[in-house]
């Protein structure tokens, strides 16, 4: 991961026309190239409103958002889409084409990629999303999990360096969720900056390296996953229940320092190493 910031959010305020309160209030963030970030918080906490600023779907009421050197206030979404891919929660809100091929090449065509460029991008992203060989399939006949991956693929084909995915696993079971997130992790390892919003803390603890907690329009916690999940009080205020391993670790090993996120297997090892349980 480089130290180069790719997204800078400075004193961002945003207010919907129909509401009196700010939906995002004084948010400051620096996101570096290659990070894997989860933004968590309840519905209405402002997390979707925040991420919609990254590709200019929302323009700041006050403050500014700089993405890859571009002030989002000065560029329409159709232009920012080249740098920031934004995948919506419901894949059925974007799928319109007769074939997977047409669906995926829609974005690149809008940007003005050449035929060869589109063809190579198509091949690459279908491979990455494990949809190879399905170019001629009817998108509406795919399973929910496949449609979700198609939605990601159709964004990836525009070759954005930043990928924002809003609630990638809603309505999917654990196996599908893990599969999708595994593919996103692969993209992250190839250098994409990945930002997800989610309610599934188990997924966060497996995949995210940095967690941002939002509550009532403000960022209240921002740090490495293992540190955020140990801040029980702030999480409770944000109505978030950390994964049970963290709660258990907090109670059994209150003083331990964690240098990376933990899973049940890791906790078992820690308990044995600390001599809490013996063989």
């Amino acid at each position: 991961m480089s130290e180069e910031p790719i997204i800078k959010v400075e004193h961002l305020y945003y207010k919907y026309e129909t509401r009196d309160q700010f939906a995002v209030e004084d948010v400051n963030l620096t996101i570096k190239k290659g990070e894997f970030i989860a933004i968590i918080g309840q519905n209405g906490s402002g997390k979707t409103t925040l991420v919609k600023h990254f590709n200019g779907l929302h323009k700041p009421t006050r403050g500014r958002v700089i993405v890859d050197g571009h002030n989002t206030a000065d560029h329409p979404t159709s232009e920012l889409a080249r740098f920031v891919g934004y995948v919506f929660q419901n894949p059925d809100h974007q799928i319109f084409a007769d074939s997977v091929r047409d669906e995926v090449s829609f974005g690149p065509k809008n940007i003005g990629f050449t035929e060869e460029h589109i063809e190579s991008a198509l091949k690459l992203v279908l491979g990455e999303m494990e949809l190879s060989g399905m170019e001629e399939e009817q998108p509406f006949q795919l399973s929910r999990g496949q449609r979700q991956r198609l939605a990601v693929a159709s964004i990836l084909a525009m070759e954005p360096s930043i990928l924002v995915i809003d609630e990638p696993t809603t309505g999917q079971d654990w196996r599908e969720s893990i599969a999708l997130m595994g593919l996103v992790q692969g993209l992250n390892e190839k250098g994409h900056t990945c930002i997800i919003t989610t309610h599934n803390m188990n997924l966060v603890s497996i995949f995210a390296r940095r967690v941002i907690v939002m509550r009532q329009a403000k960022v209240t916690l921002d740090g490495p996953t293992q540190d955020v999940f140990r801040n029980v009080e702030e999480l409770r205020a944000a109505w978030i229940k950390p994964p049970d391993v963290y709660t258990l670790a907090q109670k059994l090993l209150p003083d331990i320092h964690l240098d990376k996120p933990i899973l049940p297997q890791d906790l078992a090892d820690l308990l044995i190493n600390a001599g809490i349980v013996g063989r």
Binding site: N43, H199, K241, D269
Partner: protein
């Protein structure tokens, strides 16, 4: 007499190549709280539709086997009649509400049943208090949170005074607060001794309320057993793509390293006790 009795149910959707349900046999006794888990496509929703007669009366396909609700065949008895015995709450909170405010929503099926206004009033007040939505009862569903919408759906089903309530992934599209609202309501119904069938992804929550869990995959019932027995099968659940409670997973990992537990813990409190107890034994 069991409330629900299914025997050798097989079902194939019209135009589909494969069976969505095969060889399903189980029964539900009054007062039971049953959880149904399984990956997407296991046939859980299809099963709920067969029980309520939505299949084959509204959604068509090839159905074999017998399905009885209180002795009535759910193939032939109109869905409207069955829905007075079984209340069904579905996944999509938005699409199952039809009216412009909560009060009208709850009242609508009662008017359809031809109940007198006094009786409708009594039931309306009862369910509004039960799901705690009295102050919101004039609001348009558009303004409600997902959890509130699902509570309205539960209230609407309960107002028909069914003997069984089926929650078909009622929480899967909700945020944690919304899911907790629905789970709390499920816990409340358990106390009121209602028979509940709950299809759910979140097995931790199911563990708190269910007596019995049915595990499904690819249209079949793989396991039908008491909660603890199912949850302790960590390997089996993971192979099905079901995420067991993390505490149980931790205990399982310890067990693989030679630590013995009398009973697999599920909640954090149980985990604390079980692990400290092991510690004392050493």
């Amino acid at each position: 007499m069991p409330l629900i009795e299914l025997k050798n149910i097989e079902f194939t959707y019209r135009g589909a190549a494969n069976q969505s349900l095969s060889n399903i046999t189980f029964s539900v006794e009054p007062g039971e709280f049953i959880g149904i888990i399984g990956p997407t496509g296991a046939g859980k929703s299809t099963l709920c539709w067969v029980i309520t007669g939505v299949i084959p009366q509204i959604i068509k396909g090839k159905l074999k086997g017998t399905s009885f609700v209180k002795g009535m065949s759910s193939r032939k008895t109109p869905v409207a009649t069955i829905s007075q015995i079984i209340g069904l709450v579905q996944q999509d909170a938005e699409a199952q509400l039809l009216m412009t405010d909560i009060e009208k929503e709850i009242v609508f099926p009662l008017e359809n049943l031809g109940l007198p206004p006094e009786e409708i009033n009594r039931r309306l007040n009862y369910v509004l208090d039960l799901v705690n939505l009295r102050s919101e009862c004039q609001r348009h569903p558009f303004y409600l949170s997902g959890g509130q919408k699902q509570r309205v759906a539960v209230a609407t089903a309960l107002a028909m005074e069914p003997e069984i309530l089926i929650l078909d992934e009622a929480t899967s599209e909700l945020d944690p607060i919304g899911a907790e609202e629905v789970h709390n309501l499920a816990g409340l119904l358990k106390k009121k001794l209602k028979t509940v069938l709950m299809v759910e992804h979140n097995i931790d929550e199911l563990a708190k309320v269910a007596d019995r869990i049915i595990v499904m995959d690819k249209g079949r019932i793989l396991m039908d057993a008491p909660v603890r027995q199912v949850l302790s099968q960590v390997d089996f659940l993971q192979s099905l793509g079901i995420y067991p409670p993390q505490v149980t997973q931790t205990a399982f990992a310890l067990q693989n390293k030679g630590v013995n537990f009398k009973q697999m813990p599920i909640t954090v409190e149980e985990g604390m006790q079980a692990i400290t107890r092991v510690n004392h034994n050493v």
